[in-house]
């Protein structure tokens, strides 16, 4: 065993022992601040965690969920800044926490929040209407090359994950779509089913109902490998039967959205350790696994170094797209 390995082991042992040494436990009700409106993907994420933490008595104080979805979630992150050092507030978001400050001039920076954990990865797929002529994602891309700027591509919000992905497809292939922003994934799903847009890049959960009904169908998923096996959703097709976009010749290996939990900056290390341990227990519970299966998200529990590295890569990739599109705010 090398010295570094021993050092690592010692460090791991210390981190594991930390919760036992430092006796942080919430002394007041804990606020779960959700960076989206009620009923959205982030909201369900927070409420599922709330349910597990309360039912299994992992956190013994009451937990209150608060929706602050204004300004694409910026409202919640500003709230974290205003409550610097408060150990009774957890903020729930996606990658918007660290991407928003790049595209909009906001009064917070990523330094105002302390990452606690990422608990899941949500996949992105290209969807088209069931009776559309596109059988393969490259059909769609080629159609957009032949008639630049005419094929309407729906997505939720502006300069958010959906538009970033569409821009990434355009930059990778040279195609030119007409991006139309709507208010949320559910709305975009219906717009596609009604034939008002030609395609969208919804998460599995947002389009599952319409796919089940045979109104729309998926073309490919932006992941390094296919999604997990599942019950058939539509006909005899399940999530695993959807090819990856690289299989179809679209060279975007991976585009996933993490579901993340944050603390306001400036809390004590034992506070962080306490919530990391609590969320770890959530990620191991059966309820959590059921939630992931139901919403077709991939399990991925990241904390500490791993999480920091993930955020760094994800941020760098997105900023590259922002710069190419000229979206960066100053």
């Amino acid at each position: 065993m090398t010295k570094t390995k021993i050092g690592l082991l010692a460090a791991t042992a210390l981190t594991l022992a930390a919760p036992a040494l430092a006796e942080f436990a919430p002394s007041r009700p804990v606020e779960f601040v959700v960076a989206s409106g009620a009923g959205g993907g982030t909201d369900n994420f927070a409420r599922t965690i709330q349910a597990v933490l309360t039912r299994d008595e992992i956190v013994e104080r009451p937990i209150v969920v608060l929706n602050k979805g204004g300004g694409s979630g910026a409202e919640a992150f500003l709230y974290a800044r205003q409550n610097k050092g408060d150990p009774h507030k957890l903020i729930f978001g996606t990658n918007n926490v660290y991407l928003l400050p790049h595209v909009a001039k906001l009064a917070y920076t990523t330094e105002d929040l302390q990452p606690v954990a990422a608990l899941a990865l949500d996949e992105f797929l290209v969807w088209v209407k069931a009776d559309s002529p596109y059988e393969n994602v490259m059909d769609l891309v080629n159609a957009a090359k032949e008639a630049p700027g005419t094929i309407p591509f729906g997505g939720s919000q502006s300069k958010d994950t959906d538009e970033t992905l569409v821009a990434l497809i355009e930059q990778t292939t040279g195609a030119d779509f007409k991006y139309v922003p709507f208010n949320g994934g559910g709305e975009v799903g219906v717009q596609l089913a009604g034939g008002h847009v030609a395609a969208n890049v919804n998460n599995p959960n947002e389009n599952a109902g319409q796919w089940q009904a045979g109104a729309i169908r998926p073309l490919c998923v932006f992941a390094p490998q296919r999604m997990a096996e599942s019950e058939p959703i539509s006909g005899d097709m399940g999530w695993h039967d959807i090819p990856t976009c690289t299989e179809q010749g679209l060279e975007i290996e991976s585009y996933q959205m993490p579901r993340t939990v944050w603390l306001p900056a400036g809390t004590d290390p034992e506070v962080l350790a306490y919530y990391e341990a609590a969320l770890q227990k959530v990620s191991e519970s059966q309820d959590w696994k059921d939630y992931l299966t139901k919403t077709s998200q991939s399990a991925s529990f990241l904390t500490g170094e791993e999480l920091a590295k993930f955020i760094e890569t994800s941020e760098a990739n997105a900023v590259k797209v922002f710069e190419a599109e000229g979206w960066t705010a100053q």
């Binding site: 409106g37 009620a38 009923g39 959205g40 909201d43 369900n44 409420r47 599922t48 709330q50 349910a51 309360t54 039912r55 969920v65 608060l66 929706n67 602050k68 979805g69 204004g70 300004g71 694409s72 910026a74 409202e75 500003l78 205003q82 595209v103 909009a104 001039k105 906001l106 009064a107 309407p152 919000q157 502006s158 300069k159 958010d160 007409k178 991006y179 139309v180 922003p181 709507f182 208010n183 559910g186 709305e187 799903g189 219906v190 717009q191 089913a193 009604g194 008002h196 959960n205 599952a208 109902g209 319409q210 089940q212 009904a213 109104a215 059921d290 939630y291 139901k294 919403t295």
Partner: protein, 501 residues
């Protein structure tokens, strides 16, 4: 009648002692939540969701929806008694409900509101029962231009026959549109009109503004008039309730028209708030005594309440069948649905018949329970008006501020209430209508988004609003409502002098 068999099956599921208990409990909790402004149905329902994890999905949705109905009933109560709308959708009820209560007919006003609400809800549920399959197909036809046309129609219906001075209406409307555009624009992603205030990033909450305009504004007017509460309660008697019920058939035309508006707005989905405003506007413009609206006309209560509740119940349909919630409460319930492991969408009706039809059947029963419960408590609510102003005045101030705070737990909102209290007071002193401002705040942002999306789709050509029969017919109807009343007025003035009423 396959739907009828399914409904009977649903009744079998909904009518069990356990479910009836959940309905009574849900409606009662909803009444409380609805009476307190700010703590509206969406908040109440989201507070209840964690409690439903112990229940099976059918019981859970019955509890949540019963609470929603209760909140809708409760919301009208404070609108009528104190001019403070408990729910955004009961704002239109204040226009005639409050004047009627003030003139000593509070029991009549409340009974009218509750009976209309019950009738509207019933109409909505019947439509859901009959159209469960077809309506979701219809809603799919609505793209961005169609949505804009619907909002345009709502504006047109409300403004076309405005009784206030046209310039004052314009000022009020423009102020509302301006307020609605504060915050982040979802189409361009740019931040507008926040002047560097972080608190304005999420926009100005419509409900907070309404609490200030109506609650505090009214209170200030009362203070000026000598600290006497203007609503002197009449004798409260169950006979008044019965007498009011007996006069209901007189308003059959308003009932049917408002019910249809509500159903349409619930399904399309414009939402209950838009429905109540639109219905009030149309009732006013189709009334032969147009000027008397706003002074306590019974139709002015019947129209918004019927439309509000029929839209509220119909809103369940797009939520279940398409996953598109047309009201904030429906959005929260949809979140619950997903947590219970159900996927809203066209297949829900096929894969979960027990859940869907259990819910639909429960809507009949719990609305009936709601009407009975709320009528039984009319004398109690109306008696609130007998409490002297020195006691009730401070209480209203407290309720307003607590209500505004609960909307998003922001202290900034307390200042907003105060500022808009003053604005409301000035508006009523200077005879500026408040309704166009409120309407613009509710629909301004949605209309703007739909317009912007349409423009992106059409590359900036307005012809998209007349591109297919559906969107053109809605637009033409809207333009007609906007222009015709003025033309008719002009024409009749041309022919002969109209006697002023």
């Amino acid at each position: 009648m396959a739907n009828f068999d399914l409904l009977m099956h649903g009744f079998g599921i909904a009518i069990t002692p356990m479910h009836l208990m959940l309905m009574v409990g849900g409606v009662l909790m909803g009444l409380i939540v609805g009476v307190l402004p700010g703590l509206g149905a969406p908040n109440g329902v989201s507070l209840l969701i964690p409690l439903t994890f112990a229940l099976d999905p059918t019981s859970a949705i019955i509890l949540l929806s019963s609470m929603y109905w209760g909140a809708l009933f409760g919301g009208s109560t404070t609108s009528i008694l104190f001019n403070i709308p408990g729910e955004p959708s009961s704002v239109a009820t204040t226009f005639d409900g409050y004047p009627m209560a003030r003139s000593g007919q509070s029991t009549r006003a409340l009974t009218l509101a509750f009976m209309s609400a019950g009738f509207g809800a019933l109409l909505g549920v019947i439509v859901i029962t009959l159209l469960a399959g077809w309506a979701s197909q219809f809603a799919l036809k609505f793209g961005a231009p169609e949505y804009f046309a619907v909002y345009f129609l709502a504006f047109a219906a409300f403004i076309g026959m405005g009784s206030a001075a046209p310039m004052k209406t314009m000022v009020s409307l423009a102020a509302g549109l301006l307020l609605a555009s504060v915050g982040m624009d979802s189409v361009t992603g740019s931040i507008r009109l926040t002047f560097g205030f972080e608190d304005l990033l999420g926009g100005i909450s419509f409900l907070v503004v309404v609490i200030g305009l109506f609650g505090i504004g009214e209170l200030l007017s009362t203070v000026q008039e000598g600290l006497r509460f203007r609503g002197v309660a009449s004798k409260i008697d169950l006979r008044d309730v019965l007498k009011t019920i007996a006069e209901l058939p007189r308003y059959w035309a308003t009932y049917i028209r408002s019910g249809l508006i509500g159903i349409w707005m619930g399904i399309t989905p414009g939402g209950p708030t838009a429905a109540s405003f639109m219905s009030y506007g149309i009732a006013r413009s189709s009334s032969r005594k147009g000027a008397a609206f706003g002074t306590g006309r019974p139709e002015g209560i019947v129209a918004p309440e019927t439309a509000d509740h029929s839209a509220g119940s119909c809103a369940m349909l797009p939520m279940l069948a398409l996953g598109v919630p047309s009201s904030a409460t429906a959005a929260v319930m949809m979140g619950g649905l997903m947590i219970w492991g159900l996927t809203p969408g066209p297949m829900l009706f096929a894969t979960q018949p027990d859940f869907v039809w259990g819910l639909i059947a429960s809507m009949y029963v719990s609305n009936l329970i709601g009407v009975v419960l709320v009528l039984a408590t009319v004398p109690m609510f109306a008696a609130l008006l007998r409490i002297p102003f020195t006691i009730i005045g401070p209480m209203i101030v407290a309720i307003c501020f607590v209500g505004a705070y609960t909307v998003s737990n922001a202290t900034f909102d307390l200042w907003v209430v105060l500022v808009f209290g003053l604005v409301g007071y000035l508006f009523s002193r200077l005879d500026y209508p408040l309704a166009p401002l409120v309407l613009a705040m509710v629909l301004g942002h949605k209309a703007e988004n739909a317009f912007h999306q349409s423009m992106v789709l059409s590359d900036g050509s307005l012809s998209i609003f007349f591109a297919n029969p559906l969107v053109s017919s809605i637009m033409v109807l809207g333009i007609a409502l906007l222009v015709l009343p003025k033309l008719v007025a002009f024409g009749s003035r041309f022919r002969r002098q109209v006697p002023v009423e």
